[in-house]
Symmetry: C2
Subunit: 192 residues, 2 copies
Amino acid sequence: MIEFWYEFASTYSYPAAMRVERVTKAAGVALRWRPFLLGPIFGAQGWNDSPFNIYAAKGRYMWKDLPRICEAEGIPLNKPVKFPQNGLKAARLALVAGDRIADFTRAVYTANFAEQRDISDDATLSEIVTKLGMDADAMFTAANTPENKAALKAQTDEAIACDIFGAPWFFVGDEPFWGNDRLEDAIAWAKT
Amino acid sequence: MIEFWYEFASTYSYPAAMRVERVTKAAGVALRWRPFLLGPIFGAQGWNDSPFNIYAAKGRYMWKDLPRICEAEGIPLNKPVKFPQNGLKAARLALVAGDRIADFTRAVYTANFAEQRDISDDATLSEIVTKLGMDADAMFTAANTPENKAALKAQTDEAIACDIFGAPWFFVGDEPFWGNDRLEDAIAWAKT
């Protein structure tokens, strides 16, 4: 089984989120979706913004590298209206999406990185949920309970405790794999 | 043609250096070896140490990830006596190694990451050069001329001007590829 840890603002998590279910299924490996927040992790190392914004050359490279990856994967990429976007609400909704978490997650990434939508906007998220045939009111109510807010915080605390420092991140048991380009290695590890 | 930019202290440059000649030759792509220094680049972003030391979780991950890569490549890895090592002298020597630069480069990486030698030590470097059948005295004299010191500085300045922020780094024309795991992408790009 592979745990897929992702943050909705994270650029390289986008191609990972779009392909992780397909490639794990093809390999016969179980998948667990684990949304979390990078903000508190970056904050703890003194960053109040994405490292791609803080380190300009790194950002320029990422915006050359990511389009190559998306093109190879056959997924659309249009620079987000804002980078990074605030993925807090989307992450809380993902935690209450139940067996629709994969569909919900892909729809949010598509809104962020292909459709130039603001994923911190309730209207965007409500439209996504409704299009997926889910009850938006019920979802938002469940997402905003103190218990669910605590659950997302616990998820992020677990990420910190597991030494996660970026996204996407894969765990096979205790074995860590960082980055979209390590997904195949994680699958190979899971199969041994 | 692929330009291979590397820093002798850089962990992920080790597997890249050991395989770059083999895989580019197999693909029929020309290779140019470009040693440079990361220190001034890291210094400019406020780092006076390797990011793998500054960001502890990142360092712990790298020391799990690099052994997997080296094992898959069939190259030995033993944690260096010190990390990062000072690659200044080795880089100056590489610039005067002429058509032996590939052999010299691999020998220095092996000393650093497999043999637990101090690559900033003249004795280590002298032994490497001598074992390769080169004239150590002549090499050191050539390496330490003001012209050669300036040449290494110019190489590093060129790296900064090209937006290089890490190593290993590959260029195919203006197209940048960062990391050992991007070498195959760089080769594919060079062949199109």
